[in-house]
């Protein structure tokens, strides 16, 4: 899918560019950044990630699994030690705690992979190696846009401080 890819060398410029593009009605932006930046998320109006729900579900799963593992195995082959009850919950709780954390962590990671479609074999055609180094990138899709539109976008991008603007197929 073709469009216009602009590279920036500063966070601020990128951010302003995004704001202006969105005000011009360009919502479908692909923004690349070498650093984590809540500001850009803000600018793009990205709502907070659903990953935490994954973690929550993971945590609950872990807790229940541990409860089942400890109690049911103890009941399956009941052996008394030091006159303690077969299901010694206080002792078993430690296992439950650990497995809660284990599962929620792993689920969370799975969540990220899922939502970010990772691992990905191929990179996006609009990605440039510089984006992992010191460049920020904004790709504005211009499918079926007229020549005039393209020019307008390019100008807008340059004005907002793009150091490099190209047409990316």
């Amino acid at each position: 899918m073709s469009g216009i890819l602009a590279q920036y060398d500063s966070l601020g410029a990128t951010r302003q560019a995004i704001e202006r593009l969105r005000s011009e009605g360009h919502e479908q932006l692909d923004v690349f950044t070498p650093v984590m930046s809540p500001e850009l998320e803000e600018a793009l109006g990205i709502e907070s990630s659903p990953v935490r729900r994954w973690a929550l579900i993971g945590g609950i799963t872990g807790f229940v699994t541990a409860l089942a593992l400890t109690s049911l195995t103890a009941l399956a082959y009941p052996i008394v030690t030091q006159g303690k009850p077969i299901v010694s919950l206080p002792a078993f709780f430690i296992i439950m705690f650990e497995m809660t954390i284990l599962f929620s962590g792993l689920f969370g990671f799975a969540g990220v992979l899922f939502h970010t479609r990772k691992p990905a074999r191929r990179l996006s055609p609009h990605y440039r190696p510089a984006f992992s180094n010191d460049r920020f990138g904004i790709f504005v899709p211009a499918v079926g846009a007229t020549e005039a539109d393209r020019v307008a976008i390019e100008r807008l991008l340059r004005e907002s401080g793009a150091v490099e603007v190209e047409v990316s197929e």
């Binding site: 052996i79 008394v80 030690t81 030091q82 006159g83 303690k84 002792a91």
Partner: protein, 991 residues
């Protein structure tokens, strides 16, 4: 099967068939023969046609008797499984009441000794070389004809005695019985005092006051198992008895440690103290006896002896007062432990004391119940040595004795032996004497042989082979017969082999026995099954022979007390005269006094050690006129500052891998001085000097700390406290002891144990019994020193401070089978868990070896297998098939002999009943000479153990931890006055 078969078939006429028949008669006898020990133990060959009387996996028990395990003959039930003996238990029909000493248990290791001689040997220049029996008998036999023949054996009673005397008569030889720890001084003293040439019985169980002038009657003297039992009977506090026990002497032996009071008389002055006490008693007592001895005792006033003996006069008076006041006092003689150059007079002095105190005839009786084989005194042996050196002895046959080790260097026996042209040794072991012999004819072990022994009071025990001989050996007497035959005097004894000789003798005995009327075969069979027979009517009533005039006017020889250190050399109950030294069980049994294993030491009082800068473990050179040895110092508060003591039994140059080159031989220190009257070797009184070598040695001591820090471990209470506590205590038979609830509610059992610390003497028989029953490995000195011993049971010896001095509480320590066991929950794999019957189970094949359980055990009774233990053939034949042999990396511990519990439960189930009280005996309980241990079911409110557990003296070890142990200890009771804090401890009742 080269070993067993051959030895039987050409066994001087005992053919396999006869052998079979006789054993068959003995009941399931074929078991012992038709299924001998496997050659290597690594092959399992099923029977083609199984014998009818062998049920695989079940034990057969044979009655026999052991004469070589300490000073007293011990009747046995030998437990045999598939043709090999695994365990020895006492035969209750004899005076030792079916109890055994540690040394007796270790007879198994003597039988299965890997170093035993496996066939006849001839010594040429290079050393012993294999020989054939015929060749050996021929060569050795021919040497007998030349005259100058001496037969040297151990002391013998019964048929053996007759056999030897007839043998020497037939060959015109001379017979000498050699016993390093003989009773000759005692015997002589009795002859002088009462004209009775025998050993009296000391009926401690009837006494209410016991004074001991040194005899180690609990460990090594006269009849330790029987006397210990009698002694503890005199202190059954629960039955209102508690005889006071005072020990007089320079060093506290295991017997001394059991005493309520210690009168530390200077070494060699026991005579004086005894005389002074007798003097005082005579003064108070009055009456005919007093009058009779007043003259001879006149010079020995307490004041007169106080200085020499270093005992305050009032102390002697007090002692005399107690004896005079006592209803049935008894005084024990010095025995071997205090045997000096005036030994006879010391024994005589004690005899006088017993006479004047009225003990003679009451608690000290000549009722023929103490029969001991006569032995040549050291003086006579010295005479033999002279004759050997003088070339008068051309042939010396040594059967079952080891004088080359037992005679002090100073005697020059070893050198003299080299001078004798023909030395023939008949012994199961290649000991110092055998090694010096020209011909070595290996004899059966006692457990493989026929024989009998006089058990006293007209009882005679019969010894039969309990299993087929392990090696190419022969019955000792058969060898002698064959030699005689070779020498052309075979028919003189009227028997071709000893078994028939024995049977013939018994036929004669029956004629005079109460059962004269019965058919012999039946009587003999019964004797074989029951272990013996009564051959004379019951012993005569206690006679009190009059004091001889000689005694009444005896001039006592007194040892002059020098101002240098005095030496005491004494036998230990584990090595005895050294015969225990090649048995790893005995080397690893902690000494009752010092808790040292696998080594020698010299006991020094801290005050004496302090100026020399010595501490326990430092090397010390001990020097006397006779010689010197270098060994480890052991600081011991139970010895006088002017005395040092070295144990006997170590320092072998031969005898086997375990004994050789271990420790030092204390006999090297003796100058060969002997008692003037009896000729007995003087073990004590030698002047000695000690110098620090300046190096530390390694001494493996199996107890980390000597006091229990008032932690409710070793509890002591006074006799008064005990009396009031017991009087005010009522056991409600309707309710259970708390620990009874710590098993599955549906199980009828909660196994428990009670250990009476007042009865425990610390002899360690239980420990060795446990080794035998549960396949415990002996790990050797290195590992012991590192704290890696494997004993499931230890006897901790704790000192409790009391007014003037200390008391000893011996605490048998084994797994407490806690109801609330800290070891169980920490095991990640359930290897440690609680069984339905309340035991702490330990699943060996589940254990991964985290050792957390051992860390969490407050009693420190769990043992970890740091390595895989070795049981070199034939020791592996002794292993109990009912008990797993553990491998490296596994935790193990006592489980109340669970294999015995299970067997009893199976029997009960077969008869659809519950296990009865007393039906199960754990190995330790079975062995205990003083019956300190009781095992049983705590859920049965009337079982002995459950009653004891609720008794007035009962408490749980470390009770404050609330581990709810299944073992309840019963407080030890003393006549000494406790110091305050102990008092508080002793007072608060737990049970």
């Amino acid at each position: 099967m080269n070993n067993g078969d051959g030895s039987i078939d050409n066994n001087g006429g005992t053919t396999r068939r006869e052998f079979l028949r006789v054993l068959g008669v003995a009941g399931a006898g074929a078991a012992a023969v038709s299924c001998g020990p496997p050659d290597t133990g690594d092959r399992l060959i099923p029977y083609l046609i199984p014998p009818d009387d062998i049920v695989p996996g079940t034990n057969v028990s044979y009655a026999t008797v052991l004469t070589g395990a300490g000073p007293e003959p011990l009747g046995l039930h030998a437990t045999v499984r598939d043709g090999r003996v695994m365990k020895l238990e006492g035969n209750p029909s004899f005076p030792h009441r079916g109890r055994l000493s540690a040394l007796a248990h270790s007879a198994l290791q003597d039988l299965y000794d890997p170093d035993r001689i496996r066939g006849p040997l001839r010594r040429d220049g290079s050393g012993p070389v294999q020989a054939a029996w015929d060749e050996a008998i021929a060569a050795a036999g021919s040497a007998l004809t030349g005259g100058g023949l001496v037969l040297l054996t151990g002391p013998a009673t019964g048929t053996a005695r007759r056999f030897y005397s007839e043998w020497v008569a037939a060959l015109g030889a001379e017979w000498m019985a050699y016993e390093p720890l003989g009773l000759e001084a005692h015997r002589t003293a009795q002859r002088i005092a009462f004209g009775r040439d025998e050993i009296p019985l000391y009926a401690l169980d009837e006494a209410d006051h016991v004074v001991c002038f040194g005899a180690d009657f609990i460990g090594t003297w006269l009849a330790p198992v029987e006397l210990a039992a009698r002694y503890s009977a005199s202190r059954f506090v629960d039955r209102g008895r508690h005889a006071k026990f005072t020990f007089v002497g320079p060093r506290l032996s295991i017997s001394g440690l059991n005493a309520d009071e210690w009168v530390p008389a200077r070494a060699g002055t026991e005579t004086l103290v005894a005389l002074a006490v007798a003097h005082e008693v005579a003064r108070r007592a009055g009456g005919g006896r007093a009058a009779r001895v007043r003259a001879v005792l006149a010079p020995y006033t307490p004041e007169a002896v106080a200085e020499t003996a270093d005992v305050p006069a009032q102390r002697i008076r007090a002692l005399a007062g107690e004896i005079a006041a006592a209803r049935a006092p008894v005084a024990l003689p010095p025995g071997t432990a205090a045997q000096g150059v005036t030994a006879t007079d010391a024994h005589l002095a004690v005899a006088l004391l017993n006479y004047v105190s009225g003990a003679s005839g009451r608690t000290v009786r000549f009722d023929g119940s103490m029969v001991r084989g006569r032995a040549a005194s050291y003086a006579e042996m010295a005479g033999l040595v002279r004759r050997m050196t003088g070339g008068e002895v051309t042939t010396l046959v040594i059967a079952g004795a080891n004088p080359a080790y037992g005679m002090p260097k100073a005697s020059g026996f070893a050198e003299a032996l080299e001078r004798v042209p023909n030395v023939i040794s008949i012994s199961p072991h290649l000991d110092e004497t055998a090694a010096a012999a020209g011909w070595i004819l290996p004899s059966h072990h006692e457990l493989e042989a026929w024989g009998d022994a006089e058990m006293g009071s007209g009882l005679r025990a019969l010894a039969q082979p309990v299993m087929r001989p392990l090696f190419d050996t022969r019955q000792r007497e058969d060898i002698l017969l064959q030699l005689a035959e070779e020498a052309g005097r075979g028919n003189a004894l009227g028997a071709s082999d000893y078994r028939s000789y024995l049977q013939a003798t018994w036929q004669e005995l029956q004629a005079t026995s109460p059962d004269a009327s019965r058919p012999f075969d039946e009587w003999w069979r019964e004797a074989l099954v029951s272990g013996g027979a009564r051959i004379t009517a019951a012993a005569p009533a206690a006679s009190s022979p009059p004091l001889t005039a000689a005694a009444a006017s005896h001039r006592f020889a007194l040892a002059e007390a020098g101002d240098e250190l005095a030496l005491v050399t004494y036998p230990t109950l584990q090595l005895y005269d050294g015969r225990g030294a090649n048995r790893s069980w005995m080397q690893e049994l902690p000494d009752a006094v010092t808790k040292v294993v696998w080594n020698s030491w010299v006991e020094i009082h801290p005050e004496t050690a302090e100026p020399l800068g010595l501490s326990t473990g430092d090397l010390v050179e001990v020097r006397t006129e006779g010689g010197s040895v270098t060994t480890h110092a052991y600081l011991y508060r139970g010895i006088r500052p002017d005395t040092v003591a070295v144990p006997l039994g170590q320092g072998h140059s031969e005898y086997g891998r375990t004994a050789r080159g271990r420790g030092v031989n204390a006999l090297d220190l003796l100058d060969g001085a002997s008692d003037g009257r009896s000729g007995a070797l003087a073990f004590t009184g030698t002047a000695v000097s000690i110098t620090a070598v300046g190096r530390r040695g390694r001494l493996a001591i199996m107890q980390g700390h000597d006091v229990d820090e008032d932690r409710e471990i070793a509890e002591l209470m006074t006799a008064e406290e005990a009396r009031t506590a017991i009087a005010g205590h009522h056991v409600d038979l309707s309710e259970l002891v708390e620990a009874a609830y710590d098993s599955d509610p549906n199980s009828p059992y909660r196994w428990g144990m009670s250990i009476d610390l007042n009865a425990c003497t610390g002899c360690g028989a239980c420990v060795t019994a446990c080794y035998a029953e549960n396949n415990l490995p002996s790990v050797g000195e290195d590992l012991c020193a590192q704290g890696r011993e494997m004993s499931w049971m230890q006897v901790m010896r704790y000192f409790e401070e009391v007014e003037d001095g200390f008391q000893t509480v011996n605490v048998p320590l084994l797994c407490q089978q806690c109801g609330d066991a800290p070891c169980e929950p920490v095991c990640p794999v359930y290897a440690a868990y609680h069984t339905a019957e309340g035991l702490n189970g330990q699943i060996y094949n589940r254990c991964v070896g985290t050792r957390y359980c051992a860390n969490n055990c407050p009693y420190k009774v769990r043992r970890f297998n740091w390595f895989t233990s070795e049981f070199p053939y034939p020791l592996n034949l002794q292993l109990n098939p009912d008990v797993t042999v553990r491998s490296k990396g596994v935790m193990e511990k006592c489980t109340f002999c669970i294999q015995r519990i299970n067997r009893a439960k199976l029997d009960a189930k077969a008869e659809s009943r519950l296990v009865a009280d007393g039906e199960i005996q754990t190995a330790c309980m079975q062995s205990c000479p003083t019956q300190a241990i009781t095992f049983g079911n705590l859920k049965d409110p009337t079982s002995r153990v459950s009653v004891l557990a609720r008794g007035a003296r009962a408490y749980n070890m470390l009770g404050e931890l609330n581990t709810r142990p299944a073992i309840s200890y019963l407080r030890s009771v003393t006549h000494a006055a406790l110091v305050e804090d102990d008092h508080g401890q002793g007072g608060d009742g737990h049970g």
